[in-house]
Assembly symmetry: C4
Homo-oligomer: 234 residues x 4
Amino acid sequence: MNGQNPSLGRKFDLLMVFLIIISVVLMILETMPELASLQRIFLRLELAFVVIFIVAYVVRVLVSRPRRAYIFGFYGIIDLLAILPALLLPAASGVRVVRLLRVFRLIRLFKLSRYSSAIRLFQVALRDIIEELVLFLVFPIMVVLALAFGIYHFENPVQPEYFRSVPASLWWAIVSLTSVGYGDAYPITTGGKIFTSFMLLVGMGVVSVPSALLATALSKAAQERRSPNESSLQ
Amino acid sequence: MNGQNPSLGRKFDLLMVFLIIISVVLMILETMPELASLQRIFLRLELAFVVIFIVAYVVRVLVSRPRRAYIFGFYGIIDLLAILPALLLPAASGVRVVRLLRVFRLIRLFKLSRYSSAIRLFQVALRDIIEELVLFLVFPIMVVLALAFGIYHFENPVQPEYFRSVPASLWWAIVSLTSVGYGDAYPITTGGKIFTSFMLLVGMGVVSVPSALLATALSKAAQERRSPNESSLQ
Amino acid sequence: MNGQNPSLGRKFDLLMVFLIIISVVLMILETMPELASLQRIFLRLELAFVVIFIVAYVVRVLVSRPRRAYIFGFYGIIDLLAILPALLLPAASGVRVVRLLRVFRLIRLFKLSRYSSAIRLFQVALRDIIEELVLFLVFPIMVVLALAFGIYHFENPVQPEYFRSVPASLWWAIVSLTSVGYGDAYPITTGGKIFTSFMLLVGMGVVSVPSALLATALSKAAQERRSPNESSLQ
Amino acid sequence: MNGQNPSLGRKFDLLMVFLIIISVVLMILETMPELASLQRIFLRLELAFVVIFIVAYVVRVLVSRPRRAYIFGFYGIIDLLAILPALLLPAASGVRVVRLLRVFRLIRLFKLSRYSSAIRLFQVALRDIIEELVLFLVFPIMVVLALAFGIYHFENPVQPEYFRSVPASLWWAIVSLTSVGYGDAYPITTGGKIFTSFMLLVGMGVVSVPSALLATALSKAAQERRSPNESSLQ
């Protein structure tokens, strides 16, 4: 990923990060009905960015030494996906389709992470706990499922509109166990309240474990990077 | 738990995990009113799964060398409980009873954990902190009780429909301290608001300690497993 | 705190824990309007418990060797406060006053912690971080105050009923920063939403630090207790 | 920052902390419509405090030995900003403007942190993780943006009043990912619910990482401060 000319490559990367941020801000602003009068300007800027990103993709393909490595690599595919909707845009003129493609263009954001060294630290931490992380995702899934089945049993006869089925109850279970609690649905039966209370107290600890594991691993990876040969000093 | 023929036992276990996941997905789908027309197909698939799980139970009983160890062991009892409702199904034909039994069949999910090595890591971590975990569950219970009694005192005279009794206030206290906050009930008196503010700031830390302890212990157990003789190298 | 006769003292302590739990359950049940018909039984049981706790207090005073240490110690004062409302009960016959005294009797719960070794671990952990804990409580207070002042500025002109004053906004700020979010009040102005978004992202980390510090210290204290002379082995 | 006469400087600092706390309490109380009758007293006390803080600023400028270091230093600028609105007050007589200035005076609160040693511990911890903290702020921002774009796509056609634009959806995304969940807006389409469920389970871990990193670093910094030459003893 390090270019042949480090100084030039660095400047090019910084410019790209800057352009990606600007284009994301434009994507946000053009959804505002208050700025509907500026829609024409947004479209032109959008077009300019599409041209820039296509040129940047072509340059990258030409410059990267093992050309295959970039084109079929993770970032090459993301870069292609990010410009693909723009290439298909003229063909798809329906408003609804274009909006859907806009969401797809969000992948551009991932290019941001490309230029940061955080990814490497993240990868080290993730490799360190990937086994535990996957294994401990089983517990949260089981807790969420158990809560959804249980609440469906208790609340479906009383509130069939909110707890229509287990999939509908799954939405409520995830919103509850992540402690968001919008309040669009909540148990009203005594059984449902007791069951939910128990599951919240027990289940929340289980649901928060993967996130806690990730934070601890990141903290440790960051620490080890700073003092890699601490043990060799003894 | 390791079979005589490791290769065959492993394949059997993987097949069972696959079947359990399919049967859980079916259990979820058959609750959807939108798929009511497929109810007959669900029932037949359900029957097929019941037969498979009964056969699997019998095979396990026959294959396991100290037969007692399996039948009266934790997993043997879970396996039996998971097929028991199906065995009793023909007798219980009432719709209401069958629905209740469906919830009971969720225990099948626990069989999932049987085949994963996460359980062992979990057991090590749990054994490591079981004493602290039990002891520190006393604090959250005290905080929840104190919040329920206090809010009952402040809010019952003003909102008797929401804070009808201490058990009813316990529901609100747990929903608040786990930070879910559905918004179905909240204090409206100045005293109740001040008391709740104080309890939230102080109590949330206490309530989150068990979950934090568990995450730390898991992270440490995972780390020690990777480098078990770290100290012997010095 | 260790009695002269360890075996007898231990049995006495266990009995007291059992009685405290029963009396707390009774206190919870007697608030239920559904059980209003049992009110007479609750009163008699309550009376019995009061007598028992008074006797236990007297016994403790007589038995404890340096009598002053118990009477003027932390637990002696709690024991006295827990029976005091019962002693004053006959004088105060107003229903409202009696209810208020009931809340006061909750202090009995703290006696529970008396018999557990968790307290010692908690004390070690607390002593270890008391300085940081106090210091880092300054940041959450500042964040809560800043959020309350800010939201009062943005929302008071538009929603004077919900953000009537800074103290009223403090309630909303605490409910928001502890992530409970009942939904009884929320910003509706663009300025208020931007300000709240920023404060939530920045402030939540700060508010959760004391709780995280406590959990880490507890985990470390528990670990050190298990291997107290780890360093002396090297 | 240590004065020439430590004893006198310490007393001066403690007095200032006391005065700042009193002035903050006054600022809170004067917003209460219930205390509107005391408005005249509040104004006079406010005037007294302004005079005191101006005098304190002048004294500090005169006393500090490298005068520039204070005047152009972080605390000198904060001290000046905190008294600036008061100096401009006579000119600005409009009620609306005065209220805005009041918010600005909140900077006074930061002077509180000036006198505490917590700042130093905070600085050590922050310096230790500043790199990771900045880098890992990129992930939460990406998650929040992705959630806002996605929910805008799913919910805008159905609930245009709540998910009017991406900036409006950003408010909902931040309230959701910080697990506050006021319940003023929530997805009602199946696609929106599935997307939100997925983002909550995955994104919450990512959003909580910076806060967890900070807590771990603080805990470690506190620990190292207590035993700075632990390794040199071996």
